[in-house]
């Protein structure tokens, strides 16, 4: 029983509430936002260290005995994701300071970011399926504010669609929870993992599992439910886009990962094969989009969809390399997507457009930016020894060990398309005839570039030093593959 795992959720909530009192004082807003996100990151790191030494941490709110109260559970996977998410929020705040604009900063931008952090960290930590719904709504509410923040015409138009899609998926979530409750009589995830294997009629449970796949699939943007993502993510400014691209879809992916390893394992032959096939189709859909557009934002947005497919294919294999690989790739993807959006944000500011055909020759004026971008693009495609490689290697190995070996071949082949799509940005924006750039103050450029470089350096460390992180990752994989560890931690306090 330790309250430590609540700190990454409560600290940003506290700071966000305080920040709402004085929206006009920008200096204090920036300072407190950084302090809040930093404190949350610090508590998340302490939590990760504790989970690593003492095993899975669980607390049931109000000191009720476990299946009756709301459980919060921190296993290595959720602790790792909470650390990564807190880190990214901190970097997005750093990057927002020079880019988001004074007007937005004065209109509750930082509180919204911190509220989003509350929802994301809460969704990663909760051990109760209805509480997951509540935290998802918290993060969605913050994301509605952020996506429409500034009130430009494209933002308003896309927000309506984003809101509508999410309201429908939330209603389906409530309906799916209702069905699950009527069949099992519990909503605590650990208790579900105990009760579900005792139920003999697996047919109805399979239906519920697929309903949950649809619900989380809307959030994770899997095929064919990804249609809303490219349009909606295109509308907000770059820092918000980086936050969404790095964190929001990953909550859906995490939820699928958790439910499909912990308790929806009664009919693996159907549900997990379906998940694997959908994952491969998601990769194809993302590839088509990534190659089709001449717009830097659109290209990277479609790369989000590809990554979701790769991660879920690893989950669908349900064997040790597959699961380890998806956890590794999930964290890699969160870091690298934020870094990529930061980089193309700088490129877009320099050219004053996001259209690739109107760009060129940036390598002459900003050589450092060019090389950092190329490094990140190679990391995204998974060229060894950069960060995409170890995760993808394990996922592919997992695929070859399972029945869906053809999926691994598809992932290998599509890696080339990912490389092509990201290097295309390099070729168009950095090579070729120099195009006149928007003059940018050296100090502003550095304010944008330094957090980006640190983030890219982190992805390189994560890739080159993968061996260092491997004990943590395989510890997380072990809990996912052996639900009994999770169940014991929650139910036997």
């Amino acid at each position: 029983m330790s309250n430590l795992l609540l700190f990454p959720i409560i600290i940003p909530l506290f700071f966000a509430a305080i920040l709402m009192m004085f929206p006009k004082n920008i200096k204090l807003q920036r300072l407190l936002a950084v302090v809040g996100a930093g404190a949350a990151l610090l508590s998340a790191l302490v939590l990760l260290a504790k989970v690593n030494t003492d095993g899975v941490q669980a607390v049931t709110l109000g000191s009720w005995p476990a299946p009756f109260g709301i459980s919060m559970v921190s296993d290595p996977l959720s602790a790792l994701l909470v650390v990564t998410a807190s880190l990214l929020v901190l970097f997005v705040i750093f990057y927002s300071i020079p880019t988001i604009g004074v007007k937005r900063e004065q209109s509750f931008y930082y509180p919204s970011v911190l509220f989003l952090m509350v929802g994301v960290n809460g969704a990663f930590t909760t051990g109760d399926i209805f509480n997951l719904f509540v935290f998802v709504e918290v993060l969605l509410m913050a994301s509605y504010t952020l996506i429409v923040h500034g009130g430009e015409k494209p933002q308003l138009r896309e927000s309506i669609k984003y809101l509508l899609v999410n309201i429908i998926s939330s209603s389906l979530f409530v309906a799916a929870v209702a069905f699950l409750y009527s069949v099992t009589g519990t909503l605590n995830m650990a208790d579900l993992a105990v009760k579900i294997p005792q139920i003999e009629e697996t047919g109805i449970l399979t239906v519920i599992a697929v309903m949950f796949l649809v619900v989380f699939g809307f959030k994770a943007a899997i095929f064919p439910l990804y249609f809303w993502l490219p349009g909606s993510y295109y509308a907000p400014p770059i820092p918000i886009l980086a936050l969404f691209g790095a964190l929001l879809t990953k909550v859906g992916v995490y939820a699928i990962m958790r439910t499909y390893t912990l308790f929806f394992t009664m009919n693996v032959g159907f549900t997990h094969e379906l998940l694997g096939i959908i994952a491969i189709l998601t990769i194809f859909a993302g590839c088509v989009g990534a190659l089709a557009y001449f717009d830097v934002k659109k290209i990277i947005i479609y790369n989000i969809i590809i990554a979701v497919g790769v991660i879920l294919f690893g989950v669908a294999q349900l064997n040790q390399p597959g699961i380890d690989g998806s956890i590794m790739y999930l964290i890699h993807d969160m870091l690298i997507k934020a870094a990529l959006f930061f980089l193309i944000g700088i490129v877009a500011v320099l050219f004053g457009t996001t259209d690739l055909r109107k760009m060129g020759g940036l390598i002459k004026t900003y050589p450092a930016l060019g090389w950092v971008y190329l490094l990140t693009a190679f990391g995204l495609a998974g060229i060894p020894p950069l960060s995409g490689f170890p995760g993808k290697l394990l996922i592919i190995q997992g695929g070859f060990e399972g029945p869906q070996f053809w999926g691994s071949i598809v992932i290998l082949a599509t890696s080339l398309i990912v490389l092509l799509s990201s290097v295309r940005i390099f070729i168009y924006a950095f090579w070729g005839k120099p195009v006149e750039t928007v003059p940018l103050k050296k100090s502003t450029f550095n304010q944008m570039f330094i957090p980006t470089v640190i983030l890219v350096a982190m992805t390189v460390v994560y890739g080159v030093g993968a061996e260092l992180f491997m004990p943590l990752i395989s510890g997380a994989g072990e809990v996912l593959l052996n639900p009994s560890i999770y169940i014991d931690a929650v139910l036997k306090e």
Binding site: M141, L156, I167, V174, A175, A178
Partner: protein
């Protein structure tokens, strides 16, 4: 009783889908309201309709004849959330109508560059 409830829920879902498929934004918002009502009623029904039995276990009340209080707690949470989201949606719709000058979903397609 459960049968009547299921018919009511099905009707709500049907009406919601019909309204959400229309072009006018305000009809769509009413549709989302009906959809969440349907989901809430479903949650209530799925918990089992207890009739007159008390929701608290005390002396002389066995587990078999008490009403499950949990679905009501869940519905309360879900109602509050859907209330907040609906009010946000209404404000957003009004603001978009002012800025974009239309509430017809057909005219809200595409982006500036890719019509």
């Amino acid at each position: 009783m459960e049968i009547i409830m299921s018919v009511a829920i099905g009707f709500l879902f049907m009406a919601a889908v019909y309204l959400m498929l229309s072009k006018s934004l305000i009809r769509i918002i009413i549709g989302t309201g009906l959809l969440s009502h349907g989901a809430h009623l479903l949650l209530l029904t799925m918990g089992g309709l207890g009739g007159n039995s008390p929701p608290v276990v005390s002396h002389g009340v066995s587990v078999s004849d008490y009403a499950d209080p949990l679905p009501q707690a869940l519905i309360l949470t879900a109602i509050v959330i859907s209330f907040a989201v609906t009010s946000f949606f209404l404000v957003l719709a009004y603001r978009s109508y002012q800025e974009l000058g239309t509430d017809n979903m057909n005219l809200l397609r595409g982006t500036e560059d890719y019509e």
